[in-house]
Amino acid sequence: MGVGRRMIKQGPPPPLDESKITMLKKRKAGEPEIAPKAKAAPAKKRRRSDADEQTTSKKAAPKKSKANGAPNGSAKADKKVVEKKVAEKKKPVPMSDSEDEDEEMEEMEDDEFGDLDGVSDGSLDSDEGVGRLSDLEDDDSVIDSDGDDHPRETMFSDDEDLSDAEEQLTAANIEGLSRKLDAEQQAEAEEAEQELQEAAMQTNIAGDRPDVFGQDGQPGLAPDLQLLRQRITDTIRILGDLKTLGQADKSRADYVDLVLNDICTYYGYTRYLAEKLWNLFTPMEAFAFFEANETPRPVVIRTNTLRTNRRSLAQALINRGVVLEPVGKWSKVGLQVFESAVPLGATPEYLAGHYILQAASSFLPVMALAPQPNERVLDMAAAPGGKTTYMSALMRNTGTVIANDASKPRAKGLIGNIHRLGCKNTIVTNMDARTAFPKAIGGFDRVLLDAPCTGTGVISKDAGVKTSKDERDFLAIPHMQRQLLLAAIDSVDHSSKTGGYIVYSTCSVTVEENEAVVQYVLRKRPNIKIVDTGLGDFGSPGFTSYMGKKFDAKMTMTRRYFPHRENVDGFYVCKLKKTGPTPVTQSSTTETSTKPGRARSSSKTESTDDESYDKTPILDEDGSAQDHEGGSFGPFAEDEDQERINRAERNRLRRKGLNPKGVLNKPKKSKDASASKGTEKPEEEKSEAKKPEAKKPEAAKKSSNEGKGEKKTVTKGEEKKEKKEKKEKKSAKK
């Protein structure tokens, strides 16, 4: 407050030394607890005392305005000395002149303050009031900074002292703790904001257009990280207000290019990824995002409600010297861990399955899915099991959870977690979810697809993402995600009374893997719609447009999470509802019912194949062809037919992974030999013959099992009888 006024009166300060700023920054970073208010307040007090004495040192005032972070309680003589040094360093300009200026200014100020003191008591009072206020704030800040350590310590020691004091962990206590932390966070945020403003004020002086381009270090030398960082912040500031701060001969693109290069050097991203992430945000936010990726997210554990409840778990862990608090209002089972005297992954409570280490972000898709008891639920990419076990806990071990993972080694951890947490309603499978569902099992009430992704949201966890992901990954992975999501949609039972929902989530922030994938399936499957995730206001809405692409208007119902906004891993959650059967099969069935034809029958066989979406274009053509054929019964254009047949055949082969060119000639030959119907029919037969074939091995396996078992157990009734018999036998033995 005072600083601003002072600056106005004082005129432009001497140009700032770069090293000085970085030092200042460092100090600020070192002691983030001291609020700028606290800094400002003493300065004001001192100023007043100066005014009273009227014998101030002449340079004290400019110095204060320059170095805000300087410790304030030092003796005046020291200040003078320091100030002189600084002045000498900074001003090679004639000393006398500057001193004169300073003198003049100081006199002016002193006069003014004299006036203030003498003339208007009211103003003085108000000033004092402000001082008091700032004192108060000062006190607050002291409490806050203490709040970081002391309450925890006291909690810690208290709990050790009276281990049976359950009041220690009453809800009120938890609330109080979280409230305090909230207040702290708010204070911190305010502080940061103020600091920002201050920084802006410091450098945002008229006529100051920082030249960020001229600071190139020598090529080949290791970059000076301090300078680099300074330049990034400068450039971002310029980008925020290019008109007034930018140089005339440089365009925005130049600045963006510069800052991207700097970010690549400073944080170690590849240029491609840095650009991709940069484009998601405003420059300021992008910087915050990159910064947030350097700090780890808080450790969060999820209470296993199948085994215990949150309060008793918290009590048990506090007794072991773990400092924790509820993760937030949005979750009833999460606990955030601040520090722990014991390894959290090896406490007796962990081994007994009372909790699981799980990132806060991975609660969200399950909360969005909201599985109900007695439902049939699928988790398509389940390992390591945090979400699966959460679903199982929400369903209270009823219904069925099918947990699939494509990787067998990862499934090991999944099985371990499922058994440790006591989930009894799960089946763990190891299949490729793209083709296995709904072929193996369909008709699910809810499907969770936490798709494998590039991991751009969890860079803080795995910094390897910065360099390992290239353009190819950003094409291949979204492709796989689309296939998975289509399979997920097809596996859902749209007529389910309680469900019919799909939740798609990724731990990535890029649009290609999130909105674009959802948009794709919205186009491919008109029988789904985006619905509200049920996560409330937590998180930011999904994008409706990005770099010229327009997405569905309902995309705002999807939720995005960012490390710099919500302090969770970068995440995306989208909830879809299936409203009707997949129209491809529908259309094909209606067609076949109305008019059986060769082309249609081929499409029908396709629909029974695992991937049905590719044939929509073919279907359309068929539809148009159908009009001609059925309506006017005109002459058949053999050539055109043949072309279409060939194309369909090529598509079919490509879908099966065969080389269309290699087999392309065959139908032609056969066509030459016989009519096109002749070529199509054997295919039909083939594909129809496939289905029983697929079923046969299972049957064979069953029979082989039975053979092994030396006893045929075919029907349930027989099994029951067996069991009873065995029981009787056993009891007889006893």
């Binding site: 069925t400 058994h419 309603n425 799960t426 056993k730």
Partner: protein, 188 residues
């Protein structure tokens, strides 16, 4: 996946009965109103592993190819090549509620058990009365959380005369195995 045959059932039930006693019948009790049992539970064999699961889920699991089916329900244990049955760690959650012989350990004895060592007399806080020698025993901590199971080394009467460092329960499995043997526990 198939139901157990007669010899297999006998072997497995004998083993389970040594831990649970007569309350073993609760495990396969038919669903009845007014009780906690809501579904018919069955035992199923996949290769040599035995799973305990609701029949409904067992029926689901039949539609999954055997190679890709990793687990269904809770894994109880496995048959060795010689035809014996060996209980797995994960069966603890099944047998603990029905345990016949129980042993509660003090908090200072918890960690040694979780590292796989036997239970010493000094660590025992409470002990089921009239426990016979060499019978299955489930180990709890003082909050009644099951920690593992094993076989009693002495009967209750004999145990009273022992010195504090003597072993009273030979540990067979403990929850620490979730960390120690994670890689081998569920491999088929």
């Amino acid at each position: 996946m198939r139901a157990l045959d007669e010899t297999e059932t006998r072997t497995m039930f004998t083993k389970l009965a040594s831990y649970t006693g007569a309350s073993l019948s609760n495990l396969i009790a038919p669903p009845a109103e007014g009780t906690a049992v809501t579904e018919r539970m069955v035992f199923r064999l996949v290769k040599d592993r035995v799973f305990y699961l609701p029949e409904r889920i067992a029926n689901f699991a039949t539609s999954i190819p055997r190679d890709s089916l990793l687990t269904a329900g809770t894994m109880i244990g496995k048959f060795t090549k010689t035809g014996k049955f060996r209980l797995n760690m994960s069966s603890l959650s099944i047998i603990a509620p029905h345990a016949r012989v129980k042993c509660w350990v003090k908090s200072n004895g918890e960690m040694p058990i979780l590292y796989g060592s036997n239970v010493l007399k000094a660590h025992v806080a409470r002990w089921s009365e009239d426990a016979p020698e060499h019978s299955g025993c489930v180990i709890f901590n003082q909050n009644d959380t099951p920690l593992g199971f094993g076989v009693t080394a002495r009967s209750t009467a004999e145990m009273r005369k022992l010195e504090p460092t003597a072993v009273v329960v030979f540990a067979q499995a403990d929850v620490g195995m979730y960390l120690r043997d994670e890689d081998t526990m569920f491999t088929t």
